[in-house]
Each structure stands twice: as C-alpha cells, then as structure tokens.
Amino acid sequence: MASSSKLRDRSSSLFYVICYVFVLIVALISLIPFLILISGSFTSEHAIRFGGYSLIPKEWSVSAYELIFKTPMTVVHAYGVSIVITVIGTFLGLFITTMAAYVISRKDFKYRNVLSFFFYFTTLFNGGMLSTYIFYIRYYHLKDSLWALIIPGLFNVFYLLIMRSFVSAIPSALIESAEIDGAGEYRTFFRIILPLLQSGLATIGLFIALGYWNDWYNAMLYINSTDKYPLQYMLYTLLQKTEAMSRIASSAGIPVMDMPSHSLKMAMAVVATGPIILVYPFVQKYFVKGITIGSVKG
C-alpha cells in the first residue's frame, strides 16, 4: 500500500509539473503578443518604423490615444452601440439557441434529425453577399438599422450543435420523471434544464457575446450613419484603409494622404478589445466542476 501510494505520488507530482509548465508556456505565448500590442500602442511611430515592435516601448508616446479620443463622442457612441447590440443580441440569441438545442436534443422527438439537418444545411450553402444584402435591405427594410447588426448573430448553428451536446449530457431520467409528473415542455425546460446548464449557458453566452462584440462585417454592409458604427467596425476601417489604398496605388487622381500609423492601429485595437476581456473573468465562476448532477440520485 505505502509503496504504491508513493509511486502514485511521484507520478502525480510529475504530472502536475508537466501540467503547470505546459499551461504556463501556453499562457505566455498567448499573453506576449498582446503585451506587444499594448506596448506598440504607447510607442512613437518613428520608433516602430525604425526599431520594430518590442515588449517595452522604445520611445514612449500617447499620441495615438490622443488622436482616438480627440473626438471622444465618436468613441463613446461606438461603445454604446457595441454594448447595446451585444447585450440584446446575447440575451435573445442565447434564449433562442438554447431552446432550439433542447428541442433537437430530445431523443423521443421524432423530427429532431430532420430539424438538425434543416439548421445544419444553412452552414453548408450560402446565398452569397449580394442575395443576403438584397433581402436585408430591400425586402426586410433593415438598412441602417441596429437590428441588422443583431439578427445575423442571433442563431448560429455551430453554437446550437455545441449546446445540444451540453444538453444531451443531462440525464434523460430527469426529463422522463418530469414528464411523468405532468410537467409540460416549457416547464421542464425552464425549471429543470436551464438550471443544470450553467456552464453550457456561460460558454455559449460568452461566444455569442464575443461574436457580437467582434463583428464588423454586418456594420460594413448595412450601416451608413456614423453614429451607429460599432467599435470593431471603427477599428476595421482604420486597419483596412491603408490596405485598400495601397491596392489602388497606381491611380493618378487620388491625392497622397496621411495614413493611420502603426501605433494608431494598435491603440484602436486596444480600445476596441478592452472591455470584453474584463467580462471573461466574471463568466469563469460558472466553470466550476460538478455542481449540478447530484439531483439524479434518489
């Protein structure tokens, strides 16, 4: 007994060493580029051009941030738009997705595979930018509307299927016993399933929220008023402007203009990303092991 437990101790401490070292390495590889990004946003353009990027600014400068916050109202507006669509979209989207995931996870539902395929098919075939654009603008009258930013992200089939696998992990015995007790589907869903889905809801909720926060594509297509631009779209405009203009280099007519500097792009990236990074730690408390399933017993 004693020797085997010592063996166990040694192998487990070896394991823990590998574990911690590996995670540490991964964490560093993930963290360092981000630190370089932050450092770049505080570095003068000249230093970046001639010295490249570094962990600590070679030549400190806040001019990039000054430029961004010169018109603070635009940034405030953009934050507002991003927050509104993220909150509304996540709440609605999570609700719709989870309900649908519950439906297609029910093994006694005859049509679940048909429905799953119905949903999944849309990830394979896509009508294309033009057709989708025409439908949104012409038939659904969503031009320049915040709904055009919310609707596309409401129901993502990937999240649906991942959520389905979380729902499936809940023992069907619970659902059966609720059925026997005479509960309808809605009551079962709200009273029994939802409380047991904490980590699933947290995960998918986080992904939906991130999807909304990071989306610039829909803003590019459907939004024309500058006061409805979300934050990521502002970043995108900044980053892609240089890209686009460098591609049309051989045109005679376009006057030479000052391009957004490297440090400006970095600063904008920091501003656009900032808040959402703070959200994740809050969500973490739902990733706590094994809170839930004890209710099957007895």
Binding site: L130, S145, I151, Y186, L221, Q240, A252
Partner: protein, 498 residues
Amino acid sequence: MIQHKRMMLASIAALAFTGSLLTGCGKAKGTSASSGETTNLVMYVIGDRPAGQDKPDANFNELLKKKMNCTLTVNWIPWADFTNKYPLLFSSGETFDMAYTAAWLNFTSLAQKGAFKELDTLWPQYAPKNFARQSDAAKQEASVAGHYYCVPTLLATYTAYGPIYRTDIMEGTDWNGKMNTFDDIEKYCDIVKKTHPELDPIDIYAQGSEWDDTYMYSIGYRSSKNATNDFLFYDPEEKNPKLITYYECDKIPQFLDMMARWNKKGFFPKSALADTDSTKTQNGKAAMRTHNIDTYQGYAILHPEWKFKYQAMNKYVTHLPFTQDAMVISNTSKNPEKAMQLWDLITSDRDVFDAFFYGILGTTYSVNDKGEYKVLDTNQYALSDMWAARTIEFTRNGEGTPEDYQTQRAGYETFMKSGPEAERAVKFEAFAIDTSKIETEYAACQNVHQQYWWPLELGYTDAKKGLADYKAKMEAAGIEKVRAEIQSQLDAYTAALK
C-alpha cells in the same frame, strides 16, 4: 387545459417576438425624391467622410438651391469597404443618381455588365458645356460597346512614370545630381546604401514593384490596358503594333539582371512582398519610389524639407485615360436630367465648383496669392472625394507644390505635339481593351502574373529559370487566347486610325 393555454401563450409570444425582429425601422439616407419644389439628388463617393463635412455640404446646397432649385446629398463609402460595397451599390437596386467611378473601381467591367446608365442623349443634351470641352480621346474612353457610360474628368493626367527621390540626403555626398537613366538610379541608390544604411533606397511593398512598368515605358512600350501591372505591351511606333509579353521582349533579360543586382545590393528588402506598409517614402523609411507626377506633388507638399525631385522615364508621355476619374449615372436614378445638369454646372461654374470641391473659403480652405489651396483644419475638413469634377481651369494645386510640377506637366503637353512619333503615341491613348469574351483566361493570366512575375521581377527567383517558368505558366493559363482577342481589338483600332 392549463398546459394548452400555456403552450399557446408561449408559441404566440415566440412568434410575436420573431415577428417584431423583422420589422426593423430603417430608412435609406437621402432618398432621391422630387417633392414638387426642390429635387434632392444623391451622389456616392469613395472615402472617409470628414468630421466637419456637414458645414460645406449645407453651404453648397444653399448655393445649389439658388442656381438650380435642387439639393445634393453626398454619401461616402469608406475606403475599407469599397471593394464590397461599390458593386453592391449598383446591384441592390438602391435609388440614387450619380456616383464616382474609376479604372480601379473596374469601370469598364461594370459598364459592360450594365451597371451604369447609358448617356448617349443625356450627356450632350443636358451637359452641353461639358460635352463640348471633352477631347475625342476622352469621349472614346467613355464609351463601351459604342455607347457612352460615364462622363470623364476634364483634368488631364499623364502616363509619366519615374523615380521620386529625396535630395536632402544627398547633400555632402559626391552625387552628380543626374537621374536620367537606370544607371543614374543605381548610382544614387549606391550612395544611399553607403551613407544612410537605415533607409531603404527603393520603396517596394506588398502591391508589387512598378519598376517593370517604368522600364517598359522607358523603352517606348505602352501597356495594353493603360495601367501598371500589365502583362501585354505594344510599341505604338510600329505600323501594325503587335502585342508582346515580358518573356518575348528582348531587353527584359538585361532588366532582370539589373533587378537581381539591385536585390543583391540590398536596395529593397528581400521580403518586400510581405510588407504591407505603403507609406515608406512619405514617412522617411525609403529614399526613392517610382510613380506618377501627382504622387511626387503629394510627397513634396507633405515633406518639403526632404527636397523631393522627380524624373519621368517614359520615352513617350501621353495622357492617362480620362476615365481615371469619371462620373456615372445610375440606372435607378429618377432625375438623370437634373443630375447631368448639376454636373454641367459644377464643371463650368467657378463658384459652384469651389463650393463643391473645396468648401467654404476662409472656413474649410484658404487660397494664397499663387492660387494654391490649403485645407484649414485637416481633422475636420478635406477636399471632396469626387475627383472627377476637376477641370484644368478650376483645379488648384496644394500649397507647397514644387515649381517644377507645373513646368514638367506643361513640358509633357509640348512633347506630345513635338513630332510624328510622339503624336503617334498619343493616338493610342484611347485604346481600351474589352475582356468580356476572355474573362476566365484573363483572370487566370493575372493570377499567374502575380505569382510568377512579381518575385521574378524583384530578383527573388533566378532570372533564366524564373522567366521560363513564367512563360510556361502563362501559356497554360491561356495567354495565347487572350493575346489573340486583344490583338484583334488592337488591329481594329489601328485600322481606324488611318
């Protein structure tokens, strides 16, 4: 029973929920409408809308109401989006009147596919002053398959291509000041490499090098599509010009050797095609760049202290197509006549042009005694991005334009009339290619060109082997079919010249 009710309630709620999602409230900004009295026209341009643009817009509309009893709403498509949004503008059925177009917006390809309104009667009838001042070449360039589809700019631009180079860094060195041949360029770069190792002597970045075009222009060839990054050239001096490719031109091997030598000497970075920074020259990281004369003007205004100079290397300078900047009228326009009249007004009335293009004198811009303009607050204001509105008479140079900018341009005009060869080159100005029958092969050739020629031209791949590879791949991509088609168009054009 209670279950029933709850279920129905829930389903109704769900349906109502999703129903409300679908009735989004959105209005198109500035719909083209004729409210009996004042017509509102809508124009699309490309660019990022300046923060303070409302002021000059309002000022312009006041003036416009008086002169024409209509107003103009200008919508801006940001730089980051134009690749996607510009074609969408014409295909989504949105109602608007006019838009900017250019070669880099694929004017010809869009016109061939019916994106724009045909202007055969509209233009001469409602914009007679503009129509009368257009050169024959411009009118020919504006037509696709025999019909007019755009109104080109009245401002001449030139095919001049050559090094824009800093001379401040040459002070104190033994540079002889000459910049007429490629040898001179090499000498310049050698000196830069020696005295200023932190600079790139030559500015090359991810969009490829334009030294191949500069070289071809310097030995008298014209590009078949009248733009850089081409793979078919012809010599206008020939009686019946024949299209040639890079691998058939006998001077190219020596060009490739030169570029390989420049690469070895380190005139440009070895990984230049991965460098997305297009602003190296204007930001002081590079000493020289080959481009057109307007870029030279831009750099000189931004950094007079670097004492930029310019030398066009072309054997013959001609006008660039006037469709470099042009105006198109949309098929969905409800007031095409008014739109055309507006254009005529802008391009012929000085006050209207100034209010439209520059803004409010004293608030958004100022003019010095040389007639040069300056934008008064670059954070709030900028010039209009409807560059097609510029005319030779109305356009002003920016403050700080170097003296020789005007003299060089005047020099080009004189040169174009200086003799039979120069005049013959000018005759080919208006030749534009129609790729509608060979779209697939043309796209494939373009791909091969970018994949095999761009690195070869910069000396990144071996000159002999690279050229052979390029030839093989081009042939596989269908260059002969492309050449046959374009040659027939060129032959037809040449025949019509006689």
